[in-house]
Symmetry: C2
Subunit: 202 residues, 2 copies
């Protein structure tokens, strides 16, 4: 039995193997700094790994980022689904989605990628972002349509438009919160939207 080295205290050392630590570190850094501004070296430091490990497990920064981003989008979908597919009225579920606990100042790990020039120029990176936000809008639309069918919302409501609006309030709330470095901007945007939704509800 080899002597077990004490694991250097770091952020990404919870019993993961090297490959997992690399992915986890990349996921965090993509969220914090985006793709273009994250260097392989940043990842290696955060993951307590060496260059050799990274280029052994992945072809390079891009492949690593794609895998991390796909995982990230999966997380976001699961969290959104938790609110939107819960029991309750349509209005309840939309409100629950809008009010989900969010670290507003961090911004959206998916939406932020749309302003990263390298992501826009790399189809394999843009694809999961596009797919996820498209999925989100479709889920919102489905819930809103259920609300219309149930008589919660007037039949004149355009479910698809409203779904885009709700998704946009969240994405824009993050932008406003980050601009002013004030999380309450996000909350205000969301509460204003909820007020509007309640205003048109039966």
């Amino acid at each position: 039995m080899t002597t077990q080295q004490p694991v250097p205290s770091g952020t990404y050392n919870h019993g993961m193997d090297t490959r997992e630590r690399l992915l986890d570190a990349t996921e965090q850094l993509l969220w914090e700094r985006g793709y273009a501004a994250t260097s392989p070296k940043d990842i290696l430091v955060a993951a307590h790994a060496g260059q050799g490990s990274m280029y052994h497990h992945f072809s390079g920064k891009q492949e690593l980022a794609v895998e991390a981003l796909v995982h990230s989008t999966g997380q976001l979908r699961a969290e959104a689904a938790g609110a939107l597919q819960a029991p309750g009225t349509a209005l309840d579920r939309v409100e629950q989605y809008l009010r989900r606990q969010r670290d507003s100042l961090r911004g959206c790990r998916v939406g932020r990628m749309t302003y990263d020039p390298d992501v826009l120029a790399t189809p394999t990176l843009l694809q999961p972002v596009a797919d996820t936000l498209e999925w989100l809008v479709a889920e919102l639309e489905r819930v809103i349509e259920e609300g219309i069918a149930a008589g919660e919302f007037p039949g004149t409501v355009d479910a698809r438009q409203l779904a885009f609006t709700v998704a946009a309030v969240v994405q824009g709330g993050y932008v406003l919160a980050r601009a002013g470095q004030d999380a309450s901007a996000f909350d205000a945007a969301v509460e204003g939207a909820i007020g509007l939704l309640r205003g048109i509800a039966a």
Copy 2:
């Protein structure tokens, strides 16, 4: 009289002097690619200028970017003010603001900066962004309050919250449009918001 060289056909050559061309090129590049992803060389090529010119007129990339960004935010304020301070009902003015012609896929030249890590880390760059979006929300709030006073909107409306919501719909609309590379996502978000506003209006 020296022989006039034919101006090489470029984007930024409309009779501007070198300093103006540098600023104009920077403004465009900040919009398209953000701050971190824009290199001095990119700017020099776009402005048809040499390095010497840039470091003569400006201390470096940062100072140049600050001045370009301040100009950019001034433009945005003027455009928004054009809609929000026009004659008409409060609802009209908010609708006009929301429907202003926008090149949705380009995104917001101000809002996008909030996801640029270098901008967040540089107070002189973040300041004009924060100021401008704060100003925008305040303007929207003022208009909405006028609408409440005029009886257009119910007195139960929270003007400040609703102002954040309207600003967020625009910022988020850009994100959704860019994600799907589809300008109609922006329009849908905006039209959904207008539907909600009309729904609560008297």
